[in-house]
């Protein structure tokens, strides 16, 4: 199994509070991704990183920010959480230099915003 740890695994918080989710990898992979999974939508890309301090937006980036100060850590922040951000969040990593390398996923963080 790819060495990916997501923390926390579960979190319940209130609307308007800031929330930070952490993804930690031990594989020294260059690329890291944050997805959210919602019923009827599969997984949708929020943000991704192609190196330390190099990040870009994905399909559903509004309301989210990310930071990557070290190769092994990729943080996802909800500055002011809303109920629509209740979801399961997955981090993924890959070492690819071409497209034909799969991404490997962590076990997810279940986030509930009341």
């Amino acid at each position: 199994d790819a060495g990916i740890t997501q923390s926390p695994r579960h979190k319940v918080t209130e609307t308007g509070t800031p929330v930070t989710l952490r993804c930690h990898q031990t594989e020294n992979h260059r690329y890291m991704y944050w997805y959210r999974q919602d019923p009827g939508h599969g997984l949708r890309l929020i943000h991704y990183s192609y190196g330390v301090k190099d990040t870009d937006k994905g399909e559903v980036s509004d309301g989210y920010s990310v930071s990557r100060s070290k190769t092994e850590d990729f943080l996802l922040t909800l500055e002011s959480a809303t109920s629509s951000q209740t979801s399961v969040y997955f981090c993924a990593i890959s070492s690819q230099i071409d497209s034909n390398q799969p991404q490997h996923f962590g076990d997810g963080t279940r986030l509930s915003i009341l």
């Binding site: 690329y31 497209s99 034909n100 991404q103 996923f105």
Partner: protein, 116 residues
């Protein structure tokens, strides 16, 4: 506007028989396709992939078929086993050398139940 569609939310199959999961895509720029399997409370795990230069890729009990003209791919599991019961996601990406990462587009998933 979903670029990758899995139109069957669920599928139920008898143990030992074939499971066929389908996926359609609309973006002709996609040239790499993957299937992931997901158990409850776990992350998706990579199952099998296919490049657009091929029409079939096989790995043990799992075979993926790609029909580019129809923009359709399918995953065949033969024989199906109870441990195959999971959610299966189809994903696609635009290929080539991607210095900035490879963004996957996922379908909504199909729940497979294999009955013993």
């Amino acid at each position: 506007d979903q670029q990758v569609k899995q139109n069957s939310p669920s599928l139920s199959v008898q143990e030992g028989r074939i499971s066929i999961l389908n996926c359609d895509y609309t973006n002709s720029m996609f040239d790499y396709f993957l299937w992931y399997k997901k158990y409850p409370a776990e992350g998706p795990t990579f199952l099998i992939s296919i490049s657009s230069i091929k029409d079939k890729n096989e790995d043990g009990r799992f075979t993926v078929f790609l029909n580019k003209s129809a923009k359709h791919l399918s995953l065949h599991i033969v024989p199906s086993q109870p441990g195959d019961s999971a959610v299966y996601f189809c994903a696609a990406s635009k290929g080539g050398i991607v210095a900035y990462g490879n963004k996957l587009v996922f379908g909504a998933g199909t729940i497979l139940r294999v009955k013993s």
